[in-house]
């Protein structure tokens, strides 16, 4: 997924090969991750696609099914991975992930601690941020979940950047070997305040901690716990509003009925052509209209950040 291996790096010269992880794009809300195997097929409502037809094409290609349907083959990125990964837990999405990466000031070479691993959505982006010389140590108390995440990271070529360990961070804290060596710590735990004293010991001077909690009561409790050895405690909520666009025909002189932004441009066109035949030509213009999509994610969680106070 990451271009650490120069031979895997996406470029004009790179073509899809056997064993590649490919994101099959149907629509912006319908994608799948596929490991390419030459005897295998991919099937969806548009028909059957043979993997062997994909080999040798560049990423970004449009490929056809036996019935003439098409999909696009995309090179995987952490952002696309977040959209296709299998949900074993509630996951973090792009707005929270990007905010956390910037706020925690994660750059190549950093050592980052994370708990819980969950489905590995954030972990994948953390790995990109610390690559090639840094490392992400991620902990989850659920053994099966940790194993599945480890397999995912291996499959995505991230094993050299991520270490997954089964450990109850709330109960046991982070391993003492990381004492004073973490650049940043990320907590996504039901009772994060239990892990905060340990997180404080792990962080380097001036290092930043982030705790993600869906409920305000958790935030309240966490902020109390952070009082003792953290400073700059700040809580945020980040959301994304998406927009849809539409090309709309409008009557030039506003005559006749209805709003110029009417939702039936096709009907209007028919009516206009009819009028044209009568010699009564109305001036029309087209405009690109934009409005927020009608549904959006209303809440993910609160992000609480704190900086380890200098002694």
């Amino acid at each position: 997924m990451l271009p650490i291996d120069p031979s895997k790096r996406n470029s004009f010269e790179r073509h899809i090969c056997e064993g590649d992880l490919v994101i099959v794009y149907e629509r912006h809300d319908n994608m799948k991750a596929i490991k390419l195997q030459k005897d295998s097929v991919f099937q969806n409502r548009f028909g059957v696609f043979k993997h062997s037809d994909w080999i040798g094409k560049p990423f970004g290609s449009k490929v056809l099914s036996n019935k003439g349907g098409f999909v696009y083959l995309l090179a995987p990125t952490p952002e696309l991975w977040t959209l296709v990964l299998s949900h074993r837990t509630q996951i973090l999405y792009l707005p929270d992930i990007s905010f956390v990466l910037s706020y925690l000031e994660i750059v190549p070479g950093c050592l980052v601690l994370e708990s819980g691993t969950g489905s590995g959505s954030l972990t994948t982006s953390l790995a990109r941020a610390v690559a090639p010389s840094g490392h992400v140590y991620t902990f989850d108390f659920h053994e099966q979940r940790a194993n599945l995440a480890r397999e995912d990271f291996k499959r995505n070529g991230l094993s050299s950047l991520i270490t997954v360990t089964v450990r109850d961070i709330q109960g046991e804290g982070f391993p003492e070997e990381f004492c004073g060596s973490a650049d940043s710590v990320f907590l996504d735990l039901p009772q994060p305040w239990l892990a905060m004293p340990s997180a404080g010991r792990m962080l380097k001077q001036d290092g930043v901690l982030c705790s993600f909690s869906p409920c305000i009561e958790q935030v309240q409790h966490s902020c109390e716990a952070l009082k003792s050895n953290f400073t700059d405690v700040r809580t945020f909520e980040v959301l994304l509003r998406t927009y849809e666009i539409k090309e709309v025909r409008m009557d030039g002189n506003g005559g006749g009925e209805g709003s110029p932004v009417g939702p039936f441009p096709r009907k209007r066109r028919q009516r206009l052509s009819g009028e044209g035949n009568n010699g009564n030509v109305e001036q029309t213009t087209t405009a690109v209209m934009v409005r927020p999509c009608s549904e959006a994610r209303g809440h993910t969680g609160y992000l609480t950040f704190a900086r380890l106070a200098c002694i």
């Binding site: 996406n10 040798g56 000031e105 690559a131 509003r241 927009y243």
Partner: protein, 470 residues
């Protein structure tokens, strides 16, 4: 000079990716009184800063950990900065101390008897000046003000804290030493000079970086008309591995002063390239690109080696050139801060004012850029994007920022029609900060209502090129 430079590189190489302490010549962000004033400075023995009406030298800050807190003290030699432990100082954040019984007592208190007639404080400004002459510290003055306030005892614990903080800011200013990073630099500009960074909010900037898959080993193409903030943010994420190619559409590169606020190593600086757009698309017809066979990766590796040595050379030249510049900092922030003659100061792109190395252009033409970020409020986006997208490798993500929505909508429509990209989406980030205090948790009373808009998408391979290639 050459020896000094070498010594610096050794020092630089030992520095961790996120250095935790300051050094002579480094750039710092000084946060005075919890964000009331934010100043970028470069630490040198001669650098000074005026706080209130006192001129303080910044030399005590050299060698201190980032995150250290300083107090302005007045000694026999005049005012100076003294480091204090941060636990002894209250701050504006959510850690506000509350006495154990504060809450229960608070319930009985309110402001019904508070009359605003300026008689509550019995200390006059003359009294305070006298105390100062006698050498009282700022904290002692604050204590005296509290002791002489007839209403302080009647206030709730919360408003007592507010009162104390207000007086502290005036009489005992505190300076917090912050590390300049993409986050702190963006937050500072957004708060103090938003127009200079095109009103690009921190969460929006973060999204741009993620959406464009910025990470080590990428070659990121950028149009940065937001003062260099975007270029700096990308270079920080690349950590000196891969290239930030900042392209421009006029005779001169766009200003990029903000890049110098970061403490970039010469390695990272050497990976920032400024290139006029015409140079980037000079030598190729892009749709024929992949019909070229990828015969010898070996020779291209050799090329990249020569090109590396070439860059280091030009980088060191530009650093020497830079050391002749007298002042690097924002003049209006700190007119009295001189940028001393020091080779490690600031960062200019490797080829500043020079032609882009042709080897590099060739490499980018062969590979394609791995992503594109645009923040160009003054350019017409539609044709701009159609010119830039062919420079990206297929399946490369891109993200375009604009302070206004309409240009992005028009651009998106144009991209949809031209079938150059998929996964097109316009999004607007929304960021709300909360006050979290016992029984007093709520969103902040003031928030930024607009962080701008982003059009993101993925470049695709036009069907002719794909079929021709097979």
């Amino acid at each position: 000079m050459a020896e000094e430079g070498g010594g610096h590189q050794v020092e630089e190489a030992l520095r961790p990716p996120n250095p935790r302490t300051t050094w002579e010549g480094c750039s710092v962000l000084l946060d005075i009184n919890d964000g009331d004033r934010l100043v970028f400075a470069r630490l040198s023995p001669a650098a000074s800063l005026k706080i209130g009406n006192k001129k303080c030298f910044l030399s005590p800050l050299i060698g201190c950990p980032y995150g250290s807190l300083f107090r302005v003290d007045t000694g026999p030699d005049g005012p100076h900065l003294t480091r204090i432990s941060s636990s002894s100082a209250p701050s504006h954040d959510n850690c506000m101390q509350e006495s154990d019984d504060g809450q229960s007592i608070d319930e009985l208190k309110d402001n019904r008897s508070l009359i605003d007639n300026n008689t509550a404080q019995s200390l006059s400004s003359n009294d305070i000046d006298a105390m100062k002459r006698e050498g009282a510290t700022g904290d002692e003055i604050v204590e005296a003000l509290i002791a002489n306030s007839s209403t302080f005892g009647k206030k709730t614990a919360f408003s007592q804290e507010k009162y104390k903080l207000k007086k502290q800011k005036k009489h005992a200013p505190k300076v917090l030493l912050r590390r300049p990073s993409t986050r702190s630099i963006c937050e500072t500009y957004f708060k103090k000079h938003p127009a200079r960074i095109g009103f690009l909010r921190m969460d929006t900037l973060s999204l741009l970086l993620s959406m464009a898959n910025v990470g080590a080993y990428s070659d990121v193409l950028v149009v940065d008309m937001v003062g260099g903030l975007l270029t700096g943010a990308i270079a920080e994420r690349l950590g000196g591995i891969g290239y930030t190619c900042s392209t421009y559409f006029r005779s001169m590169p766009y200003p990029s002063d903000i890049v110098r606020m970061f403490n970039f190593s010469s390695e990272i600086c050497s990976r920032i390239i400024q290139a006029p757009f015409s140079d980037l698309c000079s030598s190729q017809n892009l749709d024929n690109e992949n019909s070229k066979s990828h015969e010898n990766t070996q020779s291209s590796e050799m090329q990249s080696q020569t090109e590396d040595s070439l860059l280091t050379e030009s980088a060191s030249k530009s650093l020497i050139a830079l050391s002749e510049d007298p002042v690097v900092l924002e003049g209006d922030y700190m007119p009295d801060c001189r940028h001393e003659n020091n080779t490690s100061t600031g960062c200019k792109s490797a080829n500043s004012g020079r032609k882009v190395p042709p080897e590099l252009v060739k490499l980018w033409n062969e590979r394609g850029f791995s992503s594109l970020i645009v923040a160009a409020p003054e350019l017409e986006l539609g044709s701009l994007i159609q010119d830039l997208l062919p420079l990206l490798s297929y399946s490369a993500p891109f993200a375009i920022y604009h302070q206004f929505l309409q240009p992005l909508a028009t651009c998106m429509h144009r991209l949809q029609t031209s079938r150059m990209a998929i996964n097109l989406q316009i999004s607007e980030p929304w960021l709300r900060e909360y006050q979290v205090l016992p029984s007093r948790t709520h969103p902040m009373m003031q928030m930024s209502a607009c962080g701008g808009y982003i059009l993101s998408g993925i470049r695709i391979c036009s069907s002719e090129a794909c079929n021709g290639n097979n």
